[in-house]
Symmetry: C2
Subunit: 145 residues, 2 copies
DNA sequence: TATTGTTATACTCTATAACTATA
DNA sequence: TATAGTTATAGAGTATAACAATA
């Protein structure tokens, strides 16, 4: 079968775009991180929220949303899910605000999380290497390719 | 009201992570690009697919999937939607494969697309600037912050 | 047997709108 | 009036599983 099964020498005009590499690199990073934290039973968004609570005990969910660019409407189910798994507890600050804190279970998860995040960062730097600035595309491409 | 409405001096441990900035930067880029191409009635994924067809007339959708990391199962509705809007036509290559081509309408869309993508790239570089390699975090952060 | 395309389905993330209640 | 939280809903994007038809 010599019908040219070799790589179809496909032309990809997106290869020259920084935005394309940025998207692919971010996706690759999220896939790697997602696999690492999978055993913890947290989504990537829950992961970042938990880390923010760990660093800011008593924080309000509206503050988390502002810091991480998550809309109020999307914060509600995230906090509810974390509370349902007993990772987060709420304490009324006033009639409408609640201070969020990690439970022991939540603290344990964060400890594991830090390890996986560090591994993910190491994975990132391993792929990105240290390069000059004009090498931005090459760096980002190296992450997913 | 002097209850300290100033920024809550919130601690964000994610700020030190390359992965965090990568995710935020990619999201910011996609928001900018999404707004630009919105008038064309294409999603971001459809946009990249159309560009690949434009550069590779007669390409099979399985090849597009491989190039852009889109699963076969997800390619089907994308191509169907592009065909439904008469941007793409199919031509049987053999009993199971189809060669994809742009229609006149599809070509017109791609011409507009190229302009918006170039604008998005300019926007990206305007924010990222040209910087050294250790400035990777700063560069990426500058895109979304 | 492996590949191409398809359908069905589910989950994550994001978005807007509208509502309650509290400040 | 503005804010904090909630609910409902929708649209992207991605994932797996299973199937038919063809190579």
């Amino acid at each position: 079968m010599l019908d040219d099964d070799s790589p179809p020498t496909l032309s990809n005009p997106l290869e020259g775009l920084v935005g394309y590499h940025l998207r692919r690199a971010a996706n690759a990073m999220l896939v790697d991180l997602g696999r690492r934290i999978e055993p913890l039973g947290l989504t990537l968004t829950e992961m970042s929220v938990v880390q923010l609570i760990a660093a800011n005990p008593g924080i309000r969910q509206s503050e988390i949303g502002k810091a991480l660019a998550i809309k109020r409407a999307n914060m509600a189910p995230i906090i509810a899910a974390l509370e349902a798994r007993s990772h987060v507890s709420r304490m009324a600050l006033d009639g409408r605000s609640q201070g969020l804190n990690l439970t022991d279970s939540g603290e344990a998860v964060v400890r594991q999380l830090r390890i996986h995040v560090a591994e993910n960062e190491a994975w990132l730097m391993r792929h990105a290497g240290s390069g000059a600035e004009a090498r931005l595309i090459a760096q980002l491409r190296a992450i997913w390719a």
